[in-house]
Structures are given as structure tokens and as C-alpha cells.
Symmetry: C2
Subunit: 218 residues, 2 copies
């Protein structure tokens, strides 16, 4: 009996491993495949390759890559405390990442490593007056909830929100460099337009947008 | 004769390799050892290890590590264009890094990978009202030259200067995580005090300070 239990356990563990990403996709709404959290290109190589890219091919980003990208960006790297891959103003973790692509907009939840749909509309072309941004297959929109920084003055909230999002964006830059993706940090987003489209409450502001895609050959 | 020339060439090349870091130290004032620009810990491992450290041991940072740290921070990663490991507002590259330690203050020059002495005074204890900062063996001071962002409004200059320095600081965070160093990004620097000590012209502002050191055991 114990032997049978053990065999069943091993079989189910193997099955779980085999199905891991598919299973994750069905268990939690918007669940992403398991993010890769170890290995990767050498840090110094990734820094050597870091650059801004503004011309993207049509190739879309699959959910395995997206999941790791979002974990790199602002994922939980110390589950015991919930702390993240990027620092933030007094650990207020005020930045939320929205992922806009042809299918709509999803909001990244770092705790469950999921990205639930919040809008079934392609908003990429509206993210910024700069038209190249709409040509990327995926556009990250950084939103800061100033309510989570209530101890700060409004001026400090706004500056720190921009600082914290930019740190996250550098994680994205380095991950992109490490897997052959291109990206670019864009300050000139249509911040109020995006806030309206995303129906953000008054405490929340858009700080930056960051297009991501495979560089156009040539 | 040709054989002798070739032998002399090979001998001198070997000698140059053998002496490379020492030679660099004597040729340019303040020259740093050659920075490491490839390999290193896997990016995803470095992101897993990223955290803020506020307790440092007495162990100092040797110049080999410091040189690579400064290159990671804001070094030249594309010599053909002079572009860097971190993006900046319209590529204005307005941030200069000052390195403060027990011996004084040096200013990093990314083009020559050197750090010339600018002050023979230990200013670490004056960098911030937070006393832990003075306990780190090395404190980086980020200074933005707003003159290099002359097209921007003053408000935009100040915000972008903070954003750009924080991106550099995240490179430092990741390099520290990859070699067992601890660090922390400090917004509450004594900005005007430091500007006075460093005798900065009016166009230049201190944005952040970042202590770096080996974490205290325990």
C-alpha cells in the first residue's frame, strides 16, 4: 500500500512537472507559465548588450518569455517577505504593470504570477504620441498608486513613482538584452489618456510606457 | 632579423598582458584596472539575489571590483557611439558618479575607465543624515549636470536626473548581488551639503547616494 502511494505520488509529481505551465494556465484566472528565476545570460554580457530599440518585427512574445520578463521586472524574489526584484520608495511597491498587446490589456499580479485581463481592447497605438510604440507587439504601462506612498508629499510621490518605475524598466532592459528582445523606455506617454482608458482612480498615475518586441532585422 | 622582431613583439605582448592592470594604473591619472565586461552571475540569479543591505563589514572594496562596478553602473558598452549600460533622458548622459571612501573622493570617467581624485577628504559621514551610510567602505554620489539637459524645463530636469541615476543604481544593485556585495539606494542624501563639499557649479545637483560594502555577517 505504501509502495502504491509512493508510486502514485511519483507519477503525479511527474505529471505535474510535465503539465506545469498548462496547469498553471487553467488553475488561476490569468495565470502565467512558471517564470524562470535562475541562470540566464551572464549579467556582464546582458549589460554589454543593453541598448534601446525602436524598430520591432511582427513576432509576438510568447507567455513563457512574458512571464519571466514580468518576474524580472518586479517579481517577488523573496517569498518569505514578498520583497521584489526592484527597490521602491520605502518599500511601498506602488508600481503596477499593465501589459498591452493586440488582445487587450492585462494587469500583472506578482504574488500569484498571473496577468488577468482588464480590457479587451488594443490600446498600444494610444499609449503615446510617438507612433513607433504602437508597432511593438507588447507595450508595458507602468502605473503608480500614490495611495501606497501616502506619507510623502505629492511632489515626492510623483518623482519617486517615476524613479521606481524606471528601475523596473531597467530590469526589463537587461532581460530583453539577455534573450534577444528589444525595448525602450518612453517618458512621453499619453499619461492622462491612458489613465482614462484604464479607468484609473485619482490616486493612480501613469509614469512610463515601455514597448517590447523582437528587433526588426536589418 | 624578422624572427627577432617577432620574438620581441611576442615578448612585449605577453609583458603587456601580464602588466595590463598595473600599466593602466600608471598611464592615465586615476586609471582603474580593466573592467570585466563579460560573463558574471546569471542575470536571473542576480535578480533573485537583489536586495537592500544597510549593515556593512569593514572589508574594503578592491579596485578590480570597483572598476567593474563602475562599468556596470554607467560604463561605455558601445565604444563606437559612446553609449552606456544605462539609458538617460534623450541620451544626455547627465549623471556623473563620485566615489567616496576613506581616502577621499574620486570622479568616474567612463570614457577612460578612470577615477581621478577630486578631494582628499573622507566625506562618507556627511553624505546623509542617516548614519549607516557613513559605515560603508564606499559611497557612490550621483551628480546630474542639468546643463546637459538644457532643452528640458527645470522640473523635467530634476525628475529625469533622479530617474536616470536610479537606473544606474539598479545596475549597481545587480552587480553587487552577483559578487556578494551589499548596497542600498538612498534618496535622503544631504544634497546641498554634498554640493557644497564637492564644489559643484550651480547647474549640477546631487540626486542619490548609494553605499556599497560587504554585508556584515550574522
Amino acid at each position: 500500500m505504501r509502495m502504491l502511494t509512493r508510486r502514485l505520488f511519483l507519477a503525479s509529481a511527474a505529471m505535474a512537472g510535465w503539465l506545469s505551465s498548462k496547469a498553471a494556465l487553467t488553475n488561476t484566472p490569468g495565470a502565467l507559465p512558471t517564470a524562470r528565476k535562475s541562470g540566464g545570460m551572464g549579467l556582464l554580457d546582458a549589460l554589454s548588450e543593453r541598448r534601446s530599440t525602436r524598430l520591432y518585427s511582427d513576432r509576438t512574445i510568447d507567455d513563457d518569455i512574458l512571464s519571466t520578463l514580468l518576474w524580472c521586472a518586479f517579481g517577488v524574489n523573496r517569498p518569505e517577505s514578498g520583497y521584489r526584484t526592484a527597490p521602491s520608495w520605502r518599500s511601498s511597491m506602488e508600481t503596477d504593470i499593465y501589459v498591452a498587446d493586440a488582445g487587450g490589456v492585462r494587469k500583472f499580479d506578482p504574488v500569484t504570477q498571473s496577468a488577468k485581463s482588464v480590457l479587451a481592447q488594443d490600446i498600444r497605438g494610444k499609449a503615446s504620441p510617438q507612433p513607433f510604440i504602437g508597432t511593438a507587439p507588447t507595450v508595458l504601462v507602468y502605473v503608480a498608486d500614490r495611495f501606497r506612498m501616502y506619507e510623502a508629499s505629492e511632489e515626492e510621490q510623483i518623482q519617486s513613482a517615476h524613479v521606481d518605475a524606471a528601475i523596473i524598466a531597467q530590469n526589463v532592459y537587461l532581460y530583453c538584452a539577455s534573450v534577444g528582445l528589444g525595448t525602450c523606455l518612453v517618458g512621453g506617454a499619453d499619461k492622462s489618456g491612458l489613465a482614462q482608458i484604464l479607468d484609473l482612480p485619482e490616486s493612480q498615475i501613469v509614469t512610463f510606457v515601455q514597448p517590447v518586441g523582437y528587433p526588426q532585422a536589418g
